[in-house]
């Protein structure tokens, strides 16, 4: 047949139309019946513009007897997108094709672990936005290849490289199992819709291996996955999830070789926060609402909490201060009195590593009575995780300003500030610190002498009073053992001044990452 432009372009249009059909009307309808968008609708909702790559890839449609009965589009859609004016690599599994299984039938995978879309993000140094929905590996892949695949042949290098280079943001809607679950977790921020599930292996596998009968929600629903920390945030629906992904991205630079974008702040840095005197009760046994305290200080409506459902004795999130991106960490006295347990420490490590990777300075509100104690805490390995939290603070290559809100006792205080760098610690007059809180400390040091005293109660009161005088924060301020004592209402202006001053240092620190890892998933 002789070549004509007309027939060649008609062929292109015909094939393009096939790719738009995804897995066909019946399977697309099934996706919609479950209240989910198709992968093409997800990309459309996220992007202002989208240049697709690999739209003509196909997979054989095979019946149960192994007969090829037609062709379907390959099960991953990807390309170059624009999100709020920024260029990103974007893609996701098409669940209507083989349940979003990896495209091992192609010469080059389009996405998932090590696919084209990851190379695009890596080579162009642009963020990777992922829509994860898939059943992980499937046995049909073995049939395609004609042999069993030793999974350790698969390269993870690119996926881990990306964590040191560009923002990686993922959404789970539907089910993410095995490899798909793994891909979602290898991100700087992940969000799942409240009716989605994620697990290493689904209910049938659990039933066979362990004899435990669970629904998929009981096994890996959004409440489970966000309480374990596998996924950062829950979304009401996919529109909310996409909003959260965009919000997260708005605080981050395109890659680690840039500083985060700065916005015009409409909230004057000189704004005082008199409400703090109401938010922080005078009675030190009464906790306060951490989010209210944070919101009183950062740019109005800029606080975006990450990981609210796990490691709850610290609150973490991104915010803006005078238009600059900042990371906020705050002890939460409502949970374990703010004591750092293993999961809170793990959450802090992940967050601090992320901030350091993307040159986001950290504001730490300290109110920590110590590492969590007790049998549960010890079983969860609180000491090792606590030390990792300290390590992440010591290794962080961004300025850290701490506000000493109330308590800072024991080793846990070292997880809030680095004495070898500037270690700028600003105390409110409510601040208190020491090796141990007085009540427990007096008992540990003088317990025997108090017990043997003629009037133990009187003696205890005397010793405690002596100690209380020493922990007066003004004494430490006089000794320059804390760098500042400030009126809480003026916190915003002071912190903004130091973060503004750190911009030149931050610019000078942009270099090739020293470490092969930066954010451990």
């Amino acid at each position: 047949m002789t070549f004509t432009w007309e027939s060649a372009l008609a062929e292109l249009e015909k094939r393009r139309a096939l790719s738009r059909q995804l897995g066909g009307e019946r399977r697309v309808q099934r996706q919609k019946d479950q209240g989910r968008l198709t992968i093409r609708e997800r990309i459309e909702a996220m992007t202002d513009e989208f240049q697709e790559i690999g739209e003509f890839t196909t997979v054989d449609e095979v019946d149960a007897n192994g007969n090829v009965i037609g062709k379907l589009p390959a099960g991953f859609v990807c390309g170059l997108g624009t999100v709020d004016g920024r260029t990103v690599a974007i893609g996701g599994e098409d669940f209507t094709i083989r349940g979003g299984a990896p495209q091992t039938y192609l010469d080059r995978m389009k996405g998932g672990l090590g696919g084209f879309v990851e190379d695009l993000a890596h080579e162009y140094k642009i963020p990777l936005m992922m829509f994860v929905e898939g059943i992980g590996g499937d046995v049909t892949a073995q049939e395609d290849m004609g042999h069993a695949y030793l999974v350790s042949s698969m390269s993870w290098q690119r996926s881990f490289d990306l964590l040191t280079e560009v923002p990686v943001v993922g959404m789970v809607s539907g089910a993410a199992v095995g490899g798909a679950a793994a891909r979602a977790v290898l991100s700087h921020f992940s969000v799942m819709t409240k009716d989605s599930v994620i697990f290493a292996g689904g209910p049938p596998l659990v039933r066979r291996a362990l004899g435990i009968d669970l629904t998929k929600e009981e096994l890996g629903g959004a409440r489970i996955a966000t309480a374990s920390g596998a996924i950062d945030n829950i979304a009401e629906d996919e529109a909310d999830a996409i909003d959260q992904m965009k919000t997260f991205l708005s605080y981050l630079p395109q890659n680690v070789w840039e500083l985060p974008p700065r916005t015009e702040s409409e909230d004057p840095v000189t704004r005082r926060a008199p409400e703090l005197l109401k938010i922080i009760p005078e009675n030190r046994r009464q906790p306060y609402k951490v989010n209210k305290m944070i919101e009183a200080i950062v740019d109005t409506r800029s606080f975006f909490e990450i990981g609210p459902n796990w490691g709850k004795s610290v609150v973490t999130g991104l915010a803006r201060m005078d238009g600059m991106s900042i990371g906020v960490v705050a002890s939460n006295p409502r949970h374990l009195g703010g004591a750092l347990d293993a999961s809170a420490a793990e959450k802090q490590v992940r967050f601090v590593d992320m901030c350091s990777t993307f040159h986001i300075p950290i504001l730490y509100f300290v109110d920590v009575p110590g590492f969590m104690v007790g049998p549960q805490a010890e079983k969860a390995n609180v000491v090792r995780w606590g030390m990792r939290a300290i390590q992440s603070i010591i290794e962080a290559e961004v300025p850290i300003v701490t506000i000493q809100v109330r308590k800072a006792y024991g080793l846990a205080a070292s997880a809030t500030s680095n004495p070898d760098k500037l270690g700028l610690r600003l105390a409110w007059p409510t601040g208190e610190w020491g090796d141990l809180p007085i009540e427990g400390g007096v008992e540990a040091a003088y317990g025997r002498q108090i017990a043997e005293a003629d009037d133990p109660a009187r003696m205890r009161a005397q010793v405690e009073a002596r100690m209380a005088e020493l922990v007066d924060p003004w004494r430490t301020a006089e000794a320059f053992g804390v760098e500042g004592m400030i009126d809480p209402r003026e916190t915003r202006e002071i912190v903004a001044a130091f973060f503004n001053a750190s911009r030149d240092a931050m610019k000078s620190q942009i270099h090739e990452p020293k470490r092969r890892w930066s954010v451990r998933p």
Binding site: R334, H335, A339
Partner: protein, 71 residues
């Protein structure tokens, strides 16, 4: 109808309302004690106390139901 759940482990120190009582948004319903802190739980909306799921001195876990308030 909404049920306030504990967001921490602790013991019930004081219950400040009785079943059937009218409450307004922000009213303190009960106070837990955890790690020497007194943690208040407030009504999320105006309504009537439908059920109190705990008694004073009960130990509660993160996620346990505390008080149900009807609209």
């Amino acid at each position: 109808m909404s049920t306030i759940q504990s967001d921490t482990a602790g013991s019930v120190w004081k219950i400040l309302v009785t079943e059937g009582q009218e409450v307004s948004e922000g009213d303190e319903l009960l106070i837990l004690e955890s790690m020497k802190m007194e943690i208040p739980f407030e009504a999320e909306h105006d309504g009537r106390v439908e059920k109190i799921h705990v008694a004073e001195n009960d130990l509660v876990q993160d996620g346990d139901d505390l008080v149900t308030v009807s609209e």
